[in-house]
C-alpha cells in the first residue's frame, strides 16, 4: 500500500486529501477568528510571575482562582503547570491570566514566538541534560 515505490508522493493520494485536508483547512480558518476567550494565545509553556513587590489585591474584587494564581506565581510558573496544579482547564486559565495581565498583576514571558529558534547554547544544555537523565 503505502510502501509502494511507484514514485508518486504518497501523501498526494486522493484518499488522504479528501478525508483529512478538508478539516485541516477548515479548522485553521476557525482558529483565526477565535472569539471564545480574550487571550487564548498564551503559549502552554509561557512563564507567569506575580509582579513584585506584590500589589494589594482586593479579595472581594478578585476571586479565589485569581488569588491562587497570584500566590503560586510568586515563583515563576509555566502556564501548563498552573493548569495542572490548579486543576483548571487551560481555556479557563487563559481568561483568568488575561484579567491579571490587564491589571498589571502578573508578567508573562513567552520563551519562543513562532519563527524564533532557541540558541545553540540552550539546545546544547537540553541535549546534555537529556543525555544525563
Amino acid at each position: 500500500m503505502v510502501m509502494a515505490g511507484d514514485g508518486r508522493h504518497p501523501r498526494d493520494s486522493a484518499e488522504w486529501f479528501d478525508d483529512d485536508a478538508g478539516p485541516l483547512i477548515r479548522h485553521f480558518a476557525v482558529t483565526r477568528g477565535r472569539t471564545h476567550a480574550s487571550r487564548s494565545d498564551f503559549a502552554m509553556v509561557a512563564v507567569v510571575q506575580t509582579v513584585s513587590p506584590e500589589p494589594h489585591v482586593d479579595p472581594l474584587h478578585w476571586g479565589p482562582e485569581h488569588r491562587e494564581i497570584l500566590r503560586l506565581c510568586r515563583r515563576a510558573t509555566v502556564v501548563a503547570d498552573l493548569g495542572s496544579d490548579l486543576d483548571l482547564p487551560l481555556s479557563v486559565l487563559h481568561v483568568l491570566l488575561g484579567d491579571l495581565l490587564d491589571n498589571g498583576l502578573i508578567t508573562l514571558h513567552e520563551p519562543f514566538t513562532p519563527g524564533e529558534r532557541p540558541s545553540p547554547k540552550i539546545l546544547r544544555d537540553v541535549l546534555h541534560g537529556l543525555e544525563a537523565l
Binding site: 504518497p10 479548522h27 487564548s40 532557541p118 537540553v126
Partner: protein
Amino acid sequence: MASKHSDPEALGHGLTALKILVSGGFGVGKTTLVGSVSEVRPLRTEEDLTRAGSGTDDLSGVENKRTTTVALDYGRITLRDDLAVYLFGTPGQDRFWFMWDELSNGALGAVVIADTRRLEVSFPAIDFFEKRGVPFIVAVNRFDNAEYHAPEDVGAALDLDPQVPVIVFDARQRTSGKQVLITLVRYLLASQPRVRDDADAGAGG
C-alpha cells in the same frame, strides 16, 4: 553549567521552558511515549463545540452543553532548576485539529510517531509540521506484529526530506524514548544556521 547564575539566554524570569510535540495518527503510541520519558501531569482544556465543530457530536437533548473537555497528553522533564522540557501530545481526533495550531505555537520541534502497518495515519501530522515549518523527526514505533522496515524505506514511503531523521524505537521503553528526544535535539542543533562558536568544539558526539 548548573552553577551559572545569570545566563543572558534565560528567558522568562530565569526559567527556560521548551515545548516538544508528540504527534502521529491515532493509536501510534503518543501517550505511551509521553508516559515513558516524562513526569506525566493531568491537563485539560474546555473547547467550544462549535469550534470543535463538524457536527460529530449529537447535541439533541443537551442544549446546555456548549463545551467539551479535552484531556491533553502532557508531561514534564526537569533538566535543571531553570530548564525543563515540556511534552505535549497532539489530539488524535479530527475534530480537534484546530488545537494543533495552539500547541505548535512556540514549539521547539516535534516527534512524529509512525506505525509501519498504517503509515498513512501519520501523514496529516507530517504535512502539518512541514507547512508550519516546525522541525520534526520520525520515530517508527516497533509494534510486535509489525514487519521490520529499514528507516530509510520508511522515510522514502513518507516522502520525507532526506535530512529528516527516521529512527526505530519502542515507546514503552524509557531509554528508547529518551533516544528519540536526543535525536530530535541533535537534529535541531545540526540544522541551526552555522555559527562559529568555540563551545562547539568540545560538544561532539
